[in-house]
């Protein structure tokens, strides 16, 4: 039961309460740069999640043997290794997506969400929990990416899942949805400033929901605080 609640807490933290995209605001560079379409967002999100899980697991596995002074270089080494591997694999198997994600793939190395989790969680917790934390944080990040991508794609070019075939293969071409069609695109949303604005609204939205939740919660019962007497007799 206890284990169960621990995982529950991890999931809650990663997906909502401490979401790397909306709350920790880590890894903004890829977050803002590649989310012009859902598919791009999905691709980078999955890649990040994969790296996050692997790096968390590895860092957790080796945490006993890493002296504190050189932990950061080692974390970076591990993360860089996974990123390079992912890059190579994507290059090999999803070439088109690799092309469209371009420079942002290697940038995963410097995604603070990953090294942040390695430092803050994985380096202090067992492998199972760390991997799960990686999964949940990755999912949280992925979710933000996808939502942001969706918002920007719909507002910017009026479609959804444009170019899904790049990621999922030819069958996915049919996923493309045209919501509406305009003579002129709303370029702001496709350009980086739009990403910032949309991101701002997402965060605001989250805060509103949090606020509502907090209000809905019944106030916890008052508990008397035991005052500590500052005398020194005992």
């Amino acid at each position: 039961m206890k284990i169960n609640s621990e995982y529950k807490e991890l999931a809650w933290q990663g997906l909502w309460k401490n979401n790397p995209g909306l709350v920790q605001l880590l890894g903004l560079c890829p977050l803002l740069a590649v989310t012009s379409t859902v598919v791009n967002a999905l691709g980078l999100g999955i890649a990040t999640m994969f790296v996050l899980i692997c790096s968390n697991a590895t860092v957790s596995a080796i945490r006993q043997w890493v002296p504190k002074e050189i932990r950061i270089p080692i974390f970076v080494l591990i993360i860089a290794t996974f990123v390079t591997c992912v890059q190579l694999l994507m290059n090999a198997f999803t070439y088109d997506l690799y092309q469209s994600l371009g420079i942002f793939l290697p940038l995963i190395v410097t995604n603070c969400a990953i090294i942040g989790r390695a430092e803050a969680y994985a380096s202090k917790n067992p492998i199972k929990q760390s991997s799960f934390d990686g999964l949940m944080m990755g999912l949280g990040f992925l979710a933000v990416l996808v939502v942001l991508g969706a918002v920007r794609e719909v507002l910017g070019q009026g479609t959804l899942f444009d170019g899904a075939n790049l990621l999922l293969g030819q069958w996915a071409t049919g996923l493309r949805v045209e919501i509406y069609s305009l003579d002129s695109q709303f370029l702001l949303m496709i350009l980086p400033p739009g990403a910032f604005i949309a991101m701002g609204f997402l965060i605001a939205g989250k805060n509103v929901i949090d606020h509502k939740i907090a209000q809905a919660k019944p106030k916890k019962l008052e508990q008397a605080i035991e005052r500590v007497r500052v005398n020194f007799e005992n």
Binding site: W65, L77, I78, T81, T84, L89, F93, L187
Partner: protein, 213 residues
């Protein structure tokens, strides 16, 4: 000082170990994916070439049959690589990778395929930085303007039709942007001129680039 030496040697050893392990992992993955990546980039190139040169007009492996542009011939053009298409060993067309330097926001990379008769087989934009919404209509994804080149020929040295409509030519400019199409048209035209002038050299030079055999 007594704590110094063990700290140094320990950290040094561990870090080295990790570095080597990580490098080895990357090397291993690289080894695994090498062939596949190679294949992918070939496919990409073939696909691009096939877009500009009809598959029925050649039977050779174009991406292997290519030359680095003979330099010095025409300094005005920034030609990169030329791929040659042959049908039954007869030259039919060449795809020329080149750059239009005077776009609104810098260089525009183009792939221009020209048939041996001097007509344009196809043009594609490979890379550009033009203003989104205005100049980016040279991309096939945004507009099919780029296909209007197909089949066009340059008639003589003073063919005025090779210009945008605003300048009295036959190519549409995009609403709000003149400079970009103007640059593309100019480069395509110059490339055709170059091709016609150097056809022999282009087709007779031995293949000297591309994929390692």
């Amino acid at each position: 000082m007594s704590t110094l030496t063990p700290a140094i040697s320990k950290n040094s050893k561990i870090l080295a170990l990790f570095a080597m392990a990580c490098t080895a992992t990357v090397a291993f993955v690289q080894l695994l994916t090498e062939d596949r990546i190679e294949f992918q980039s070939q496919q990409q190139l073939i696909q691009q070439l096939n877009q500009v040169i009809q598959t029925d007009s050649h039977d050779n492996e174009m991406f292997r049959d290519c030359i680095i542009a003979p330099t010095g011939k025409d300094t005005e053009l920034l030609i990169d690589v030329i791929y040659r298409a042959r049908l039954n060993n007869t030259p039919t067309a060449a795809a020329i990778k080149t750059v239009a330097p005077d776009g609104y926001s810098g260089n525009i990379e183009l792939l221009i395929a020209i048939n041996t008769d001097g007509s344009v087989s196809g043009v594609r934009t490979l890379l550009h930085k033009e203003t989104p919404g205005l100049g980016d209509k040279i991309e096939l994804r945004k507009s099919d303007w780029i296909t209007t080149f197909s089949g066009k020929k340059v008639l003589g040295n003073n063919d005025n039709r090779w210009a945008v409509k605003k300048d009295g030519g036959m190519f549409d400019q995009f609403t709000g942007a003149t400079i970009t199409p103007r640059a593309v048209v100019k480069t395509v035209r110059k490339t055709i001129d170059y091709f016609q002038a150097n056809q022999k050299v282009i087709f007779n030079t031995a293949s000297n680039c591309g994929v390692e055999q």
